[in-house]
Amino acid sequence: NAGVTQTPKFRILKIGQSMTLQCTQDMNHNYMYWYRQDPGMGLKLIYYSVGAGITDKGEVPNGYNVSRSTTEDFPLRLELAAPSQTSVYFCASSYSNRVKETQYFGPGTRLLVL
């Protein structure tokens, strides 16, 4: 049982480049989330999904896009990378409740935009 997996672990991007951060969970969870964590700050929600085909914005969605074509996968897309997007990105999932249930986190993707 792998839980929540994320790829890549680390990436350096140039300003203006694009990339997709991959997230997969094998727990058959309905809810999936993308967070970013900046130094000295708490996790901030970028986007979330309550099931395949349904996504919604979180606290800091600007500059990102998501899709949820399957229960297992929830990729995060950066179209035009900016230095402000340098951060650690965590994907998470939960079974049935967005705010009253434990979330299971992946190991994170460290992104550096230069």
Binding site: Y35, L43, Y104, F105
Partner: protein, 109 residues
Amino acid sequence: DQQVKQNSPSLSVQEGRISILNCDYTNSMFDYFLWYKKYPAEGPTFLISISSIKDKNEDGRFTVFLNKSAKHLSLHIVPSQPGDSAVYFCAASAIDMRFGAGTRLTVKP
């Protein structure tokens, strides 16, 4: 705006002693609170939670206390062990979940 604050970036305690990690919140609508633990190069893992209808919840060596009037919660670890050394995040939720910035706990042998 920081609705959930962990004002101590770090805490160091001796093995066997009590560790007390604190968390303050500003939104009185928060009704569910969680603590997560994070080791380096790993994602946060759930530790313990508490609903606003309670003021205490215990799970083994870990106890969370909630003081709604003060908008304050704390995590007590007794006795502390070197394996408890990690970053601890508190989170609070109502419509959305908000996380604190974390406190790095170091337990010295």
